[in-house]
Amino acid sequence: MSEELKNSAAQPSALSEVSPNNENIPEADRPVTALEEPQAPPARSAAGKALLVGVSLGLFLALLTLWLAPVWREWMFAILPESKFALQLRTTDIKQLQKEAQRLEKRVAGLQKKHAAITPRLPYLIVDTSENRIQVMKAGEQLHEGVCSTGSYVLLRSAAQQRQWMFVTPRGMYQIRGKRVNPVWAKPDWAFIEEGLPVPPLGSPERFEAGVLGEYALELGDGYLIHGTLYKRMLGMPVTHGCVRLGDEDLRIVYKNLQIGSKVFIY
């Protein structure tokens, strides 16, 4: 510490000259006197504190505003006045406007006709994999409704063979590619792996099994079939390997109504 500072510390300051009168009084209750003016540093720290608290609170409010911005915008859309140009038309000529409206009506009617023509005239099948239900439809009208079983979403993994299969019924639009009576199931590899059996070579008699697919089978392509089942209590549940299983009566109706080329919509 310098000599000068030591002296100033030793000598009573202007503030300390008055302090004897107030030294036992708590600071908050001490009367403010003109002599206390030199307290500049506390004022500066108060400004700093104000800035810090203000910025902190401001940032918090800014985040809140950001979070609520979509709500604020909706509120503004609600309170802002509608445009004064709302629904103004190019011309004031009513007759011309009516002609334009008629032209629009015709155009809309034409589009409706075009869209209605998309719906197949022949019976088609809708398969709901979410609720495992089917609908046989014709020209947009329902002919029959029933239950089915669709893909189980099981991923079968074979560590020994380093292969895996996902049992899902594919979604989208398909066509009936073939119809079979008393179908025989040509078992794929997964049917053996799932049972813990050794996989026989292709064309082996072990691969063919009659009577498990019901009376009929309709081919959708890529090995997917609509067929019957022995496990009727499982109908309505997602238990298949990707095919659509139906009960006997539903299968008969589907087989009767759907021809080769008929559409099948799966969702």
Binding site: A43, A46, K49, A50, V53, G54, G58, L61, A62, T65, L66, W67, A69, P70, R73, E74, M76, F77, A78, E82, S83, F85, A86, L87, Q88, L89, R90, T92, I94, E100, A101, L104, V108, L111, Q112, H115, I118, P120, Y124, I126, D128, S130, E131, G140, Y153, V154, L155, L156, A159, Q161, M166, G172, M173, E194, E195, G196, L197, P238, F265, Y267
Partner: protein, 289 residues
């Protein structure tokens, strides 16, 4: 402690951090400036400017509608009324036309698409133009922006082409995949045959973000279960967070955040689930509102 005393004590505690502002004018000014400047900036950038310059307002002019001058005050009342009715009729026809054109365009694609008709209160799943599932919309709400656009006869321009799904957020998975290890032998295979199928009772709530600033939220009409409510809360937090994140990202790229045109529809749980599970990742949407 009485209730009044407790209130006073609480107030004192809350006010205590701000006592330093007393008798400090400069501090007060600094405090209020610092307090206001950030929220005000955020409010202007994320609320005022996007509303003032929303992209839908600046849509291209149409053949029939334009920002022409209003009719003079001396115009007979029947002409004004007739003209207004015609304008409304034409606006509705333009929307119908846009909706049908969009559906026809979607029917050319192979994938499953969603058709939402708020005027008919239906949400349909379609493929190749054929409705597969017709769902009844039990309740819906939409952004105030839609009302404004309809009022200006410009909504059809926005609806004229299919919307394409960009992002989705849901309380349920797309598919409940179960992994099954192949059994070593027939004994192990027979043991696993007895396993019960898991019954799915998840609540269905999802948000689909489409291009052209459209957000479609689908909720089930049935009250959610307790775990469903927790999942719903977390889903709401994520949704709000994503919106805030998008706004910040836009600001970082020196762009104004855009207001999303949102629509909220309520369906039965089964319908909501079927729609969510059926829609592909880049699904198309046709909308009529």
């Amino acid at each position: 402690m009485t209730r009044q005393n407790f209130g006073v004590a609480l107030l004192n505690r809350l006010v205590k951090p701000f006592r330093f502002l007393r008798q400090n004018r400069k501090g007060k000014i600094i405090f209020f400036l610092a307090l206001i400047i950030f929220p005000l900036f955020v409010f202007i950038v994320t609320v005022v400017l996007p509303v003032a310059g929303n992209p839908f307002e600046a849509a291209a002019e149409d053949e029939a509608f334009e920002n022409s001058e209003a009719l003079p005050d001396s115009t007979p009342a029947e002409i004004v009324t007739g003209r207004r009715e015609l304008a409304q009729k034409m606006a509705a026809l333009e929307i119908d036309q846009a909706f049908l054109q969009t559906r026809l365009e979607l029917s050319k694609e192979d994938s499953i698409c969603l058709i939402v008709d708020l005027l008919d209160s239906t949400a349909n799943l379609e493929v190749k133009g054929v409705p597969m599932r017709r769902c009844k919309i039990l309740r819906y709400r939409s952004s105030g922006l839609a009302r404004r656009l309809r009022g200006q006869g410009r909504l059809h321009q926005w609806l004229a082409t299919p919307f394409v799904l960009q992002e989705q957020l849901a309380t349920l998975p797309k598919a409940t995949i179960r992994i099954k290890e192949a059994p070593k032998d027939t004994i192990e295979a027979n043991e696993s045959k007895g396993e019960d199928l898991p019954i799915e009772q998840r609540d269905a709530e999802f948000t689909l973000h489409f291009d052209r600033n459209l957000t479609l939220s689908v909720e089930q009409i049935q009250p959610p279960s307790f775990s469903g409510r927790l999942r719903e809360f977390w889903y709401d937090v994520r949704r709000n967070f994503n919106e805030a994140r998008d706004a910040v990202t836009a600001l970082m790229h020196l762009q104004l955040p855009q207001h999303r045109m949102w629509i909220e529809i309520e369906l039965s749980r089964e319908d909501a689930k079927a729609i969510y599970r059926a829609l592909p990742t880049r699904a198309g949407l046709a909308l009529r509102l």
